[in-house]
Each structure stands twice: as C-alpha cells, then as structure tokens.
C-alpha cells in the first residue's frame, strides 16, 4: 500500500516539479525553434505515458494487494491485448520519430546562401576564421601550426591570404543571415555549444565537421565547450555576439587578414629601448621590478604576453576595476604607447633584458603547492616556463608577491571579469580552485622553486621526439 501511495505521490511531485521548475530551455536565438517543438512533442507524449503506466501500476498494487483467500488470475498470455499494445506503441513511436527525422532533414541541408565561419578549438581556447573577400577559406594543415602561425595557414595558398583571422575567443555574427559553421580542432575533441542556438557539434582533430544556423536576435551568447577536453574543459569559454549586418561588416573589416598578420614586422628593440625609459621608472632599468612601488618584474616575460596585457590595459580590459588600484596606475602608462607596433617594440626590448629570478618574498607549503600546481602546469608548463600556444605566460622566476596579488584579484573578480578579457576570465575560473590564502601562498611558493630553465618541459620533450 505504502509503495502505491509513494508512486502516486512521486508522479504528482514530478508533474508539479515540471511546472514549477525554474529551469527551462534558454530563450531561443536561432532558427532551430523546430528543435524546441520536437522536445515539446516528446515531453507531452512521454509525460503522458509515464503518468499513465505508473498510475495503472499503482492502482494494480492497491486493487490486487495480498489477500489470504484470493487467487491470481491464471492467464499465460492474451494475444489480442498484446497485439493492441504493440500496435499502439508503434504508432506512438512513429509520432515521435517522424517530426524528429523531418527536422533533421533540414539540419543536414545547409542553405545555399549561408556564409561560412570556421571555429577552431584548442585546449582551452576558441578562435575563428572568416573566408575573406574571395569567399573561400584557405588551406590549413595541423603540421603548420606554430606560435607564429596559430591557425596552421598554408602560406602558399592564395585563397588563404585574405582570410580574416580572429585570434580571440570573441566573435561576431550578423543577425538573420544563415551561417555554416565549420568546426576544426587543433588538439583534442571539443564541442561548440551555444545554448541559445540549440545546434551543437563536436570539433574533431583531423577532420572538419559542421552545423548551420541562422541567428535570429542580436545579443551576446556564451560559447561553452560541451565535450570533455581536459582539466580546464569547464573554463573553455568564448562569446558570440550577434549584431546587425552593418555593424558586423564594420567589425569584420577591422579584423586582420592572414596577409596583414604575415606582413607584421617584429618589434624593434632599439625603438623599444627609448620607450622603455618610462617603464624603467617603476619596473627598474633591468625590468627587475620594485616591490616598494608595487611594480612586478617584467624581464623574462614573452613579447606576446606583454603586448596583450599592454593592449588590455590601454583598452580598459584590465586595470579598470575600481578595486584594482595598481592596475589603474598602469593604465595611463599603457595609454602612452601609440599603437600595437609601439607595444611590440617595448616588448622586444624587454626580451633583451637579462632575467635573474626575483627574490623570494612569499613562504608557503611547497608540498601542497606542488599538488596544486599540477592543475596550473596543464597550461603554464611543468616548470612554469609558459606556453604560448596555450596563451599561458611564464610564471617561474617572476615576482611571487605579485602573483599572490593577481591570484587574489582573479579569484575575487577584480581581474579577468571584463568582457573583453576572455583569457583573464579563464584564469579567473582556475584561480577559484585555490580555496584560501594559504593555497595561494603554497602554490606561489612552489612556483618560486621552479628552475628558470630546464629541458624537461613536455613541449621540448615532444620537440626532441620529432
């Protein structure tokens, strides 16, 4: 009896839960409303069956509960009933399947007027490529991927020269324009999921998969990775902004083409030396940093990282948070650098400075720090040298007090929460895994023990293998 009542209560509870649940499909932003319809059909059909079958069972349990002088009905089979039930079920299944297949038919048929975008996944970043004026994506090959050619573009393919490369996890799409999304991965499996678009598909290394959709409303939509891709899977975030066609055109025109990027001159350290005079005031003539002025050591940082941070400071993606007082100090100095070239020049000069390890100022449990650092090492490398391909800067030998402050900032949302600082956003998610100040001190203390240069990084191991 109790079990029959429990079944009925559970059924009621399930139905009530369904209607009260605050968790529904996210507001649709693409043409795939038909997917939502198939979900609704399935929900109603299966919901009714769920209630009907279980109510019947509960009723049977109550009606035929044990009585000493009752005998069960001996009825090995009832062909007629069984055939009826089979037929009814078949009809029900067909009702579910038919609309599903129908919608799938349109899912696999990309409209002829769809424009193309390529989504490139790697641990744990998104980047994008548009075909440029010729409407054709240039050839790529995984073998060609390097720090200078992160997309693996084939330099000899004329189709690729005007390809627009978005080396950032933020991308724009024009509203109401069907788009074929080509998906490619540089390393492991990923999955391009924008909940509001409904459509999703894996990115598989060694092949190109695709999906298509028409964004139907403007707005910003998060890109999540929906296929387990390693320890920072949960932090692999991107953003697609759907805008009006005109706005999209302007934005796209501002993005660099492959030819433009190839033509970029490397920074000039001689010019950089002149510009560095301003920096030296706080960061020291050798870029060794000055804790008294809250200026971290910068000698030893890679040029690409310096340039990106200078750009972030200048654009307000960093140092704009009201609680980031030292970042606010840096912001106007970054603003003094006229353009990306000037930043590249300074960065090139910083790279010529001899980098001695910074003094130790933080103490902590290095054993615990070593355990924590396993997570960090996935991007920053086992010995903290930084890995450009993973957008991870050098940690070893840098100012430990500064690392402590930045980890706290990341954790508290003071750094990395600006919508334009997406790599920072990933670090902010990772910094949250450091549950307290002791954890931050431990991992920083451990990082300080890492050798400045060894031959044991995974990357160099792999390089040797090849």
């Amino acid at each position: 009896m109790a079990v029959a009542i429990a079944l009925i209560a559970l059924l009621l509870g399930s139905v009530v839960f369904h209607f009260l649940s605050p968790w529904n499909l996210t507001p649709l932003a693409s043409n795939w409303g038909s997917m939502d319809d198939t979900i609704s059909i399935t929900l109603w059909v299966t919901g009714s069956v769920f209630v009907a079958v279980n109510l019947f069972m509960a009723y049977a349990i109550i009606r035929y509960r044990y009585k000493r002088n009752r005998r069960s009905l001996y009825e090995p089979e009832n062909k007629k009933l069984e055939i009826w039930l089979t037929a009814l079920t078949t009809v029900g299944i067909a009702t579910l399947l038919a609309p599903g297949l129908f919608v799938w038919g349109s899912f696999v048929t990309v409209p002829d007027d769809a424009h193309e975008i390529e989504v490139v996944g790697q641990q744990w970043h998104w980047s994008f490529r548009f075909p440029g004026n010729d409407g054709e994506l240039g050839a790529i090959h995984a073998r060609l991927v390097s720090n200078d050619n992160p997309f693996g573009m084939d330099p000899d393919d004329p189709n690729g020269q005007d390809d627009v490369l978005i080396h950032s996890p933020k991308v724009q799409l024009p509203v109401n324009q069907p788009v074929k999304v080509l998906l490619r991965s540089k390393d492991v499996l990923h999955n391009f999921q924008v909940a509001q678009f409904r459509a999703k598909m894996d990115l598989v290394p060694g092949q190109v998969s695709y999906l298509w959709l028409t964004p139907t409303r403007t707005g910003k939509f998060e890109i999540l990775c929906a296929e387990l891709c390693g320890i920072a899977h949960f932090a692999m975030r991107g953003m697609v902004e759907v805008v009006e066609q005109a706005e999209f055109d302007v934005w796209l025109a501002q993005q660099p083409t492959y030819a433009e990027i190839s033509a970029q001159k490397p920074g000039d350290p001689t010019v950089g030396q002149g510009l560095f005079a301003t920096c030296a005031g706080c960061h020291g003539p050798e870029g060794q940093g000055n804790p008294g002025l809250n200026a971290p050591k910068i000698a030893g940082l890679e040029a690409w990282y310096l340039v990106r941070q200078l750009q972030n400071f200048k654009a307000g993606a960093r140092g704009a948070h009201p609680d980031d007082q030292y970042g606010q100090q840096m912001k106007p100095f970054a603003g003094m650098l006229a353009d990306r070239d000037a930043m590249a020049d300074v960065a090139a000069y910083v790279q010529t400075l001899s980098a001695k390890p910074a003094d130790r100022t933080v103490s902590g449990d290095t054993g615990r720090g070593a355990r924590i650092y396993r997570t960090c090492s996935a991007c920053h490398g086992a010995d903290g040298q930084g890995v450009q391909a993973l957008n991870a800067p050098r940690l070893a030998g840098m100012s430990d007090w500064y690392q402590v402050r930045q980890l706290r900032n990341f954790k508290q949302g003071i750094r990395g929460r600006h919508p334009d600082d997406i790599y920072g956003a990933q670090m902010a998610e990772m910094a949250k895994t450091l549950i307290d100040d002791e954890a931050i001190a431990s991992v920083t203390a451990y990082i300080h023990t890492l050798p400045r240069a060894t031959q044991t990084t995974m990357v160099s191991k792999l390089a040797e293998k090849n």
Partner: protein
Amino acid sequence: MAEIGHDAVSYAPPAEVGEMELVHPKTFIGKYIWSQDAKVIAIQYGITATAIGLVALALSLVMRLQLGFPNTFSLIDPSSYLQAVTMHGMIMVVYLLTALFLGGFGNYLIPLMCGARDMAFPYINMLSYWIYLFSVLLLVAGFFVPGGPSGAGWTLYPPQAISPGTPGSDGGIILMLVSLAFFIIGFTMGGLNYVVTVLQARTRGMTLMRLPLTVWGIFMATVLALLAFPALLVAALMMLCDRLLGTSFFMPDMLAAGGQAGHEGGSPLLFQHLFWFFGHPEVYIVALPAFGIVSDLLATHARRNIFGYRMMVWAIVAIGALSFVVWAHHMYVSGMNPYFGFLFATTTLIIAVPTAIKVYNWVLTLWHGNIRLTVPMHFAIAFIFTFVNGGLSGLFLGNVTVDVPLSDTYFVVGHFHMVMAVAPILVVFGAIYHWYPKITGRMLNDTLGKIHFWVTFLGTYAIYYPMHYLGFEGVPRRYFAYGETAFISDSVQTMNAGISIAAFIVGLTQLVFLFNLAWSFYRGREAGPNPWEATTLEWQTPHTPPRHGNFGDELPVVYRWAYDYSVPGAKQDFIPQNVPPEEVEMIDSPGRNARP
C-alpha cells in the same frame, strides 16, 4: 488443456548428455578459494564487485562534494574531479554491474535454474574469476601510480585520453587499458561457460521455452557481451599501441601540450565507433539480466504467471539483436557524417517497442495478481517506475533532433543514471533480498530492508529527476565548476547542493544494507528451502544452501514452465517446475477460484 497448467506434460525426454564429473575438493582452500563450484565463484564475484563498487560510490560522493559545494575542498582539484568521473563510470558499468549480473547472478542462478550440477567448464569458470580479480587489482593500481588514474572520462575518447596533460596519461591510462583487456579475457571464459551451460546442460524436460526469464536475460546478455566486448578489446589494444608504440590508429596530426604531437592520419571517430559498438550493447548487457530477474521477482511475489511469457522471450531476443545496430546514437554530435542520424534514430526508436512490451507485461503481471508486498517486490516495483522514467527520457536522446540541444548536458546524466544505474541496481537489491535465503539459509531483516528500500528509491529519484531539468537549461556535464555563466541561473547551484545532500543520504544508507547482509548471516530467521513459495528449480534443492552439485543424488526432471502460479484447481498457489501433472494436489471443486 488436458493437463493442469499451461504447458505441463507428464513426459520428459531422456537425457541426451551424460552427467558431468565434478571435482569434490576436501580442503578449505579447494572449497572456498580455488573453488570450481559456480556458487562459490558467484559469491567471489559478488564480493569483489561490491568492494570495487563501493570505491566507485565513494568517488561519486567526491564529485557531489565538488558540484554541491564548489571550491570548498582543497583536495578536489580539476584533475582529481575528472579522475573521479572516469573511475566512477568505468567501475560502475564494467567492473560492478557487468561482473555482478553475469559473474555473480549468472554463476549462481544459471546451473540451479537450468537444473545442472555446475557450469559446463568449472575449471575455466574458476580462471574467469581470478582473471577478473586481477583486472580489478590492475585498475585499482591506477590510484597509486604517479599521475594517478585516467581522467579522460569513462569513454576514454582519444586523443585526449592519451595526450600529455590529461590526468593519468602517464600510467593510469595504460593500467586501465590493460585491465580492460584482462577483464574481457576473464569475461570471455565465464561467458562461454554460461552460454554452453544454458544450451547444453539443461536438465530433462527443461526446454528453452520453459526457462525462467532470469536465465533468458542473463543468457542473452552473455551472448551480447561475447559479441560486443571484442570491439572494446580491439579499441583498447589499438589505443595502447598509440600510447606506447607511437602508432596512429586514433591519433591524427595534432598538437599536444602546445607542441606537435607527432601523430599522423589516425581517426578519433574510429575509436568512438568501436567503443559504442561495445558500449551500446553494454547497456543491454546490464539491462537484460535485470529485465529477466525482475520478471521472476514480479511473478513470484505477485503469485501470478508472468504475463505474455513468449512475448517476453522474443522481446529479449529482439532487444539483443537490435542493440547492435543503434550504437551511433551516442555520436549524433560527434562530427560523424550527419546522414547517419536518420538511420540510427530510426533503429533506436524501434528498440523502444519491444522494451515497452516488457514494461506492459510486467505491469499486467501485477494486474489480477495477489501481490505480496515483500522487500524484493518493493524493489521490483521501484525498478518499473525508475525504468519507465529512464526509458522515456531515452526517447528524447535517441531521436536525433531532440538529442542535439540536450546532448552533453545534465539531461544525459539524469537519463543514463535512471535507466542503467538506478534501475538495474534496484533489481540487484531486489534479487539479493530474494535469493539471500537460498544462498545463506537465512532471511534478510525486513525492517532494515524497508529502510534501505525507501531511502534508496526516493533518494535516487530526488538525485536524478531534477538533473533532466538542469539539462533543459543547457547545464553542461563533466564540468568541474560552473563559474560565471550568464545562462545558468543561480538556482542551479542550490539544486546541486540539494542533489549532493540526497546523494550522501543514499550513499550512507547502503551501509544499512551491508550491515543487514552481515547481521542476517548470523542472526537472520531460518529460511527453509522455499520461503517465497517459488516454482523455479533453485528453490527445490534438497539442501539449503545447495551443496556442490546442487541437486543431491538425482537431477530434477522438469514437467512445466517456470510460472505455474495460482493454477486453477491446484490446491497450492504454486506448482514447482519438477512436479509432474499427476502429482499436483487438487482441490475438490475446480472452478471455484477461476476468476477472482
């Protein structure tokens, strides 16, 4: 029908195969350690599977701690979280459920229910267990090697599973793959035994269409496993080659840890096809024994024949066959040719028909029954409820279009836990409460059993039902933390905390069950040979627990199917399979009880 009962005849054909010679060991070690008695091997399998299953249960609680209360516990970092995800899944599916249903229940019940003295090849059967134990130890060793066990997810998808940077890619993954290979070798030894025993060692009169559905379920599951596991074996060996010898079966040109990985030309999708060619039948390897066992629990405790026995058998066979042509429904968004979607959505939804028939027939078995609400019956009813829920949510994920928005979300986690974790485990519990009296001679404690039942049934529903709704919102699975995600509402975190609390309650309640198993072994009420008044042969043994050889001097002869419950005219409401028609005690005026 002239004779009493559905298919009862007085005649049983003579035995076609002579009786097997059993080795009767004298020493303790021979009887209980290096034992060739299927019943002892069954218990060895059961204890080992339960022990490793408890590890997997603990790992699930590690996950729930992190999901419910993110960034609170310093020992749970993204690596250890993913390692818990991986080991939990792999252990539960392969090392617990497969081993327990086939190695445990299969070994105990097949010879007894078929009326055989033992498995067809007792020595190989013994080897099967020891190889299984070795594979479990190899798997556990993964926890103790540098880098720990694999954290690639239980599906072990390459390239990630063997890429540097993935937790356990140093040693854990190698141990996992080698362990799987040994598991499969061990299973094959056991599996061939089960199949040959069912086909060749049934007693006189035990036709295939008289077999209890338990045997049908385990038999068909074993056939599936023998055909499906080789795909996993091949996949595991190829991945080992990729990892150790630098081959490129599954590894394309790609980066690893920021540099060139040095592979060329492999296909990650090939692995997925091999994995799911095994992985989907695996669902039924777990489900079919559960289907069979629950059918027998329902019939016995409802005092009614299983409704539509022939349909039930054919449904098992049909599901088994169809389960080999649906595998790619796990891959709708994998990047395979999307045109596959049409085919696999169709086959997948077709499989729902025989499955639905089974559900109807279970419920119709209760209808017009005389239901004894024993502890096993509680679990059987809870199974139907849970399985209907999990089966219906499968109609979302099997239907390719509906799957796309929901795949890789918590909807999937809710679905597969309902259908292939909770539902089969409820049957495992029901089966243990049902057969424990035969195995030990004592009844399990009813009160403890009810406590165990209520917390487990209601608790698991509270854990998994809400997950479907998190999935509707698009909450992705296998996430260490959700951080700042605009479309994920704050209430998701509250729900996750609630789910975690429910999980802890359910997890701890399993200790009540373990206590009951131990306590009742010494203090339980004496069971007698046939406490449930059941018809099948295991309850008709001359000794309880049955001794080596099962049936004493003479094997039973079968005169009827397994479901002669409440036969009109018979005095008792059950007629064991080995009672010939002329020996059935009749009541004076048949027809009095014709229809209740």
